[in-house]
Symmetry: C2
């Protein structure tokens, strides 16, 4: 599922740093790897995860691989989160109202039983 | 990092279904497992991932474990996504403007060179 790929891709600090770097402009793999204290191979794996999620695009020019940012999947994930949050809120509010109503009925019953 | 835990927890359809079910009210582990064609053990693992992310809380009453939804980490993740999205947008817009300006300068130069 696309949403899964996006969320997994975003769930890592190194990958979020790569995306932030790309938001300042296209970059080669070696340029992206420079600030990290990890192997070029590890950085390549992170980039592949970002590509699979559609967050990063690759343009090949001769020997150079230029990477660029595509924020579209982020929009989809943000929209999903907001929709889900709103739906949960509504259901939790209804649930709370139902529990309060039940509680009020119980209290009213207890009071009426106590009456002489 | 908390954001990592939240995003990983949300990046799975079974776990998203569990959260949706809990937004309709608290449930026991066995009740949560019922609609899924996977072992109780697998469901328990999913629940632990959701608990680690703070999206699910557990209340133990005798032998019963009641699970409830806590939407707070979802808010934090949604806020992060929106903030990041806005920042990328701004940087990408500036980048595009800079590239267009450069392009316009190049064209102007070419035109002035062509002049007799």
């Amino acid at each position: 599922m696309e949403l899964d790929d996006t969320l997994v891709a975003l769930a890592d600090e190194t990958r979020r740093s790569i995306l932030k770097r790309l938001s300042n402009g296209d970059a080669r793999v070696t340029e992206l790897a420079a600030p990290f204290d990890i192997s070029l191979n590890s950085v390549s794996k992170h980039i592949r995860i970002l590509e699979r999620a559609g967050l990063v695009r690759r343009r090949i020019a001769g020997r150079d691989h230029f990477l660029s940012l595509d924020p579209a999947p982020l929009d989809a994930a943000a929209a999903w989160l907001q929709r889900e949050r709103a739906a949960w809120e509504t259901r939790l509010d209804k649930l709370e109202a139902a529990l309060r109503a039940e509680d009020a009925i119980d209290k009213a019953r207890t009071r009426s039983r106590r009456k002489p």
